[in-house]
Symmetry: C2
Subunit: 349 residues, 2 copies
């Protein structure tokens, strides 16, 4: 390159033109600046005629509001963060789509943080704070220290399907223990007496509650010490743990309670494809969540469906209230799951 | 309330305290303000010793960078938007998790927009512009007019598994036509001569390419006018269209090519559960995508797996280049899908 003359930098007109401001739009439309502001504020009251007039002027001038500059004045970024772990878990895409669309209807945009593992939470929170989000929905485990960080910054937080016992936090949950008890009851009523549990990972609060709900109810019914195997919510772990159950010295169970649908599907495949058992004739399998594939004909799971619409609606309205009315009391909302009987189990509802 | 004296408003110290600035941190740490700035800029070069010194001072003062204020100065918001339609399609959660984590590694945060239908695109773009995003990944259909809006604003755009023929846009795609041709070839080599196609919805470019790839190759092989039924990518549509194929007057096909895995799973269930056919003994079914459930033992689909890691890596690196080097040429990258043979079809690779 030596010896060559560098071409002069060409600065395009585009790059140096002054941005059009709301003041310009107001003058062009012959209205007040606050009227322009209202026209661009989601949910603000403004007449159709005024909106038309302002939007025409805005279009003619090429004006676009700057949400970022506005947020420095209003101290509202109109951004919320959603923290989600295991996005590829079949249950979460539905939750995420519902949350995003509901926040959107409130004029609020979603910053998505997908945690590879729960251990990422520290780092992720450091990434969230600089964006001055108005609030956070966490479908991921957070520690009391993490929750303290939210309080320090006055950032509203709603846990989705998690809670911290004893800590002052808001949460929306499905009643995991009650759901597990319903599953045990129906299996027991249908005549099952030999149970096994394929549980979730120990760090999953949801999984721990499902397991303890099932164990408590079994104990009340006089079923003692069923084997509890620990899975990781994946198809593969359901498959291999069901296989383990078949290879134990002791009698095989005739009812297997899985902590989620995907493990129940894996267990069904192991029993049917690998061990040539028929479900529900030889063995009963139940799941939890009510994900789409749970109703596919090859599985047709007996499961507890989480009421995702109601739960996401509650999470969004709670967070919006906390944002709009600082100092609102914390609230825990617990929804009952809905029993969905299928042909994967002999079950008497 | 009349007659009662309102209590004086208590203004907490928290509410009125001045925010700590990077200038305060610099003075406290005894370093320059630009050193502080570098310490908080993702990816910037700074010594471990300097970082330690600045971070300690920041922590002592309770300083937190304001990404929003910074973006007004740097004209980089460090935000990208991801537009995704049909988030609940089993294929997208994996794409979204990969994209989000990869952008995060670049210090860039993701604003998520989940489109209920492709028709929402207009409104969604109006929601995106005020956030002054640095770029957009679109896994949704956009029109040439929409693309024009990106150009007008100099906002880089990368299409994910979509493209606009003839338009100057960047895109990352899986080679849909080639994948469909591979599926036809393997089925034909295994002896199949009577085909049917369960296609995607006509507005899905991906579906149209998969269909035309299959039809072209069948035509080259002398298979004339196979029935083409139009589905909507859902399990239910795969199931009911397979059922329709069985109820037509003409001879039933012995090989069914489905435009995605989920419809192939629905078709398999219809053939097996409702019509008591064995796959692959009586009928062969193939899918496309390679979603998790395609390898569940009850289905074990012969399918084309999209190389999601490579494709998301390419999309992120393309968009980052376009953001960091304005004026970079547009680029289309097309990845071959990977044939994953299963037991759902008689198939000779």
């Amino acid at each position: 390159m030596a010896g060559k003359t560098q071409p002069e930098k060409v600065v395009s007109i585009k790059a140096v033109k002054q941005p059009v401001t709301s003041y310009d739009v107001a003058r062009h439309a012959g209205v007040s600046q606050s009227a322009v502001s209202r026209c661009f504020k989601p949910g603000a009251s403004v007449s159709a005629k005024m909106r038309e007039r302002v939007m025409t002027a805005a279009k003619e001038l090429g004006y676009e509001p700057n949400a970022i500059a506005r947020s420095l004045i209003t101290r509202r970024s109109n951004l919320v963060a959603i923290l989600i772990s295991n996005l590829t878990n079949l249950y979460y895409p539905e939750v995420l789509a519902e949350l995003t669309q509901r926040f959107s209807a409130h004029g609020v945009r979603v910053l998505l943080f997908s945690l590879k593992s729960e251990a990422d939470a520290n780092e992720t929170l450091q990434q969230i704070w600089p964006y001055r989000v108005d609030g956070v929905v966490a479908a991921a485990e957070l520690s009391p220290d993490h929750v303290g960080e939210f309080e320090k910054r006055d950032v509203p937080l709603v846990f989705y399907n998690r809670h911290l016992t004893g800590a002052p936090v808001s949460s929306v949950c499905c009643d995991q223990e009650d759901g597990a008890r319903q599953l045990v009851d129906g299996l027991y009523r249908a005549g099952h007496r030999t149970f096994a549990i394929i549980a979730g990972p120990p760090e999953s609060a949801v999984g721990v509650e499902r397991k303890s709900g099932a164990l408590e109810r079994l104990d009340e019914l006089g079923v003692e010490d069923p084997p509890v195997l620990q899975g990781d919510y994946s198809y593969e772990s359901g498959f291999s743990l069901a296989d383990d159950l078949m290879n134990r010295g002791s009698a095989r169970p005739d009812a297997v309670i899985c902590a989620n649908d995907v493990m129940a599907i894996g267990a069904l495949d192991a029993f049917r494809v690998k061990h040539r058992l028929a479900a529900p004739a030889d063995i009963s399998v139940v799941g939890f969540d009510g994900v789409g594939p749970s109703s596919w004909k090859s599985y047709d799971l007996t499961t507890i469906r989480q009421p995702v619409r109601r739960m996401t609606e509650a999470a969004v309205s709670m967070l919006m209230t906390m944002i709009e009315e600082p100092g609102s009391p914390h609230e825990k909302r617990v929804f009952s799951g809905i029993l969905k009987p299928g042909t994967s189990a002999q079950f008497t509802a």
